[in-house]
């Protein structure tokens, strides 16, 4: 079998890349994609541990997360499109009207 450490390392790497992407990127669509990356990293982690333990709960939870990610992506894109129709921009730096 593949040792559990490899899965964990992969998941951690994906998590890190996703976090960096959320924090660093200007384009909000890229931020959304990074969020997806984080969610998927979590999924890999869950499935790997579920295989190790031999139960099926991790798999079930991963499917919930996938569903949830899909809904979230839909809603998020809807907000971005609504904002774009108003302000003609997809850059996070320029979305600062809710401020003091």
């Amino acid at each position: 079998m593949v040792p559990i450490g490899h899965y964990l390392f992969l998941s951690a790497a994906l998590l890190g890349i996703g976090i960096v992407g959320v924090v660093t990127r200007r384009n909000v669509i890229i931020i959304l994609m990074s969020v997806e990356l984080i969610l998927n990293a979590v999924n890999i982690n869950l499935v790997a541990f579920s295989r190790l333990v031999g139960s099926v709960e991790g798999h079930i939870f991963a499917i919930f997360i996938i569903t949830d990610a899909a809904a979230e992506a839909a809603v998020g894109l809807g907000i971005i499109i609504a904002f774009f129709r108003n302000r003609e921009t997809v850059l996070g730096d320029e979305m600062d009207i809710l401020k003091w």
Binding site: R26, I31, D93, M95, D96, I97, L98, K99, W100
Partner: protein, 689 residues
């Protein structure tokens, strides 16, 4: 009726007129004149009956028991007090009545003459407004006077003293709508008050020294105190009490109110300012003779002032033209005689003259009232004359009184005045000379009055002449009774030198602490007495002759004398300018003080005080406003500003940039994760291996 009924009920005597006065106060306005007369004159009549009855019953007692005291209640039970000698004594002033020979004489005079004057007033005041008010005041006066003479202690005497002063004010100012009348009333009361200040000081000193004011206890207290003749405290007390007497009995320097008091109705002048109130001073000094006899200096002062007053007032009476003014100055002069008598130790002679003077002076005043009534209100003698046949009863009774006051024997005035002059000659011959001259002046000015009024040419204006009529019986009957008393009243004190037994002096002897040694003069024979009597009759006749010459035969002489000696005449006519001097010295100074105090009140108290307080309040309110707007509001604003300053960094967090929000989320998660892992004991080392 038991034989001591009137003696046991002497407390009723002042009560009768008091009830009359009270009724007048409450319902007098609604009563008809006849009811007012019945109540008020009746009350005095009852007082007179009870008074005479009490005196009769007193006389029926043996000499040693002629002292009746009826105590009604404790009035000022002040309790324990320290006298000036340090001794502790129980002070008690009661409301009690005392009847002894002295108050018996006063009682007869006051109630008898008072009753006659009340009857006279029915006719005299019958057509005047305020009839009930007049009689109410008159009854109140009778109450006060009776309390004065019947009181058993000096405090009660003082109550009556003040009461008669009040009634004098009310009655002098009876026609209060006339400014001169109300001014005269005020003058009387204020001048009286000045005397009363001395009286009160004397009372205090007396209480401190003897511990009692009760007449029956003063004598024993003096004996127990062992005071020497000429003792300083006794002298001070005597002088202070005499100051009160000068005010009430119109002696120098407080006589100025009496002439002005003629503004009141004539019965008032007769009752108050001739027969009763002005004699209160004489009564008081006689009552306190135990004190005075221990103070020769005070007696000297009393005698000197009495003599000086008598000649001083007589000189002013020589030139007055108002019939009542002449009588007023005559009263002051005769009161001077009474005090002269008291001052030389002849207390019984002074009281004797008080009694006879009451008779003929009341008659003179009532007679003058009758004349004024006949003359339709005219009082100036220069407009009278030849009234003898027109108002016969008035004229004849008036003439009898004039003879009496001039000292013509055997009328009342001769006996009493001669008793005084005889005593004065023995004690202080200088004062006898003054009294002698005054007797001549008295005869002169009284007959001047009679000649100008009743005899000679008629100077009556035509319109008045028609109305001249004799007065009604209610007025003439009292005149006749008083004329009778003026003739026979002196006979009760007929001296031994003329064959009498002088029952009057013997009656009063128990009241005098140290009776004069009359035995010595009796043993020496009556030669001196006859000489003195002859001298006084001669000078009286001289005065009458002079008055006849000046005012009947050669009526141009007075005018020529007035022109030749115009300075002296003006001095006398203007009453030595004493009123003006008093005005400048005292009244104007008091007014200046009042003005000064008024200015002080306006500028300092109102200006500094009241307005200043207002200004200060406004200034303080300004400070408070500054405090409120700068400090208090400033603190509030400061708090808000601090909150604002503290919020700046927090505000910066909300940049609106979603990316920064995302960063904070990530940092937060990491911190939480690290904490959680740390708490669970997981370290980097354990993960890596």
């Amino acid at each position: 009726m038991p034989s001591e009924y009137f003696l046991a009920h002497i407390w009723l005597i002042p009560l009768f007129p008091l009830i009359g006065a009270a009724l007048m106060l409450l319902i007098g306005r609604r009563l008809p004149n006849s009811a007012v007369s019945a109540i008020c004159v009746g009350s005095v009549g009852l007082a007179m009956i009870y008074g005479f009855g009490a005196v009769l019953q007193l006389i029926m007692r043996p000499v040693a028991q002629r002292l009746v005291e009826v105590v009604l209640f404790d009035w000022v039970p002040a309790g324990a007090m320290h006298m000036t000698s340090g001794q502790l004594v129980n002070f008690n002033a009661q409301w009690g009545m005392l009847l002894d020979p002295l108050s018996a004489v006063m009682l007869c005079v006051v109630t008898g003459v008072g009753f006659l004057i009340h009857v006279y007033s029915i006719g005299y005041m019958g057509h005047e407004g305020g009839y009930y008010r007049f009689f109410g005041y008159l009854n109140l006066f009778m109450f006060s006077m009776l309390v004065l003479i019947l009181g058993n202690n000096l405090l009660l005497l003082f109550v009556g003293w003040e009461g008669v002063g009040l009634c004098s004010y009310l009655l002098i100012g009876f026609y209060f709508l006339r400014k001169s009348a109300s001014d005269a009333g005020k003058k009387a009361f204020i001048v009286n008050r000045i005397g009363d200040a001395g009286f009160i000081l004397g009372l205090f000193l007396l209480v401190g020294t003897l511990g009692t004011l009760r007449f029956t206890e003063v004598g024993p207290a003096i004996t127990a105190g062992g005071f020497a003749v000429g003792d300083g405290v006794m002298t001070a007390i005597a002088i202070l009490l005499f100051v009160g007497a000068t005010g009430k009995s119109a002696q120098i320097p407080l006589y100025v109110w009496l002439p002005d008091a003629m503004e009141g109705p004539t019965p008032v002048s007769a009752l108050i300012h001739a027969a009763t109130m002005v004699t209160a001073g004489v009564y008081m000094v006689t009552r306190m003779n135990a004190v005075f006899q221990l103070a020769p200096l005070a007696m000297a002062i009393v005698a000197t002032i009495g003599a000086a007053t008598s000649i001083f007032a007589a000189s002013m009476g020589l030139v007055q033209n108002d019939i009542k003014r002449v009588l007023a100055y005559s009263t002051v002069s005769q009161l001077g005689y009474m005090f002269l008598a008291l001052g030389v130790g002849a207390f019984t002679a002074g009281i004797f003259h008080l009694m006879t003077h009451a008779f003929f002076k009341a008659l003179l005043f009532l007679g003058s009232g009758s004349v004024i009534h006949a003359m339709s209100g005219e009082q100036d003698m220069r407009k009278m004359g030849a009234l003898w046949s027109k108002i016969p009863t008035t004229a004849r009774t008036f003439f009898i009184a004039t003879l009496a006051i001039s000292g013509i024997p055997p009328l009342a005035g001769f006996v009493s005045k001669d008793a005084i002059l005889g005593a004065a000659f023995d004690a202080r011959p200088t004062l006898w000379v003054i009294g002698f001259i005054t007797a001549g002046m008295t005869a002169f000015y009284m007959f001047r009055l009679v000649n100008m009024t009743f005899f000679g040419q008629s100077r009556v204006p035509h319109d008045v002449e028609h109305h001249i009529h004799e007065s009604p019986a209610s007025m003439t009957v009292p005149l006749m009774i008083l004329a009778f008393l003026s003739i026979v009243g002196g006979w009760i004190g007929w001296p031994a030198s003329l064959g009498g037994s002088d029952p009057f002096s013997r009656f009063l002897e128990p009241v005098i602490a140290r009776p004069e040694a009359s035995a010595a003069s009796e043993a020496a024979g009556y030669g001196k007495d006859y000489a003195l009597m002859a001298a006084s009759v001669v000078i009286a006749l001289f005065g009458i002759w002079l008055a006849r010459r000046f005012y009947l035969e050669h009526s141009e002489i007075p005018e020529r004398l007035a022109e030749r000696f115009s300075g002296l005449y003006q001095l006398l006519y203007n009453k030595y300018y004493v009123d003006q001097i008093y005005y400048a010295m005292f009244v104007n100074r008091t007014k200046d003080l009042a003005t000064g105090l008024g200015a002080f009140d306006r500028n300092v108290i109102d200006g500094l005080g009241v307005n200043g307080a207002g200004w200060a309040t406004r200034a303080i309110s300004q400070v408070s406003m500054w405090w409120d707007s700068w400090i208090v509001d400033g603190l509030v604003n400061l708090t808000a500003r601090i909150a604002w300053v503290l919020s700046i960094p927090v505000r910066m967090l909300q940049s609106g940039r979603v990316a920064s929000y995302a960063l904070f989320i990530v940092i937060g998660v990491m911190v939480g994760l690290a904490y959680y892992l740390h708490v669970s004991g997981v370290t980097l080392h354990s993960v890596l291996h």
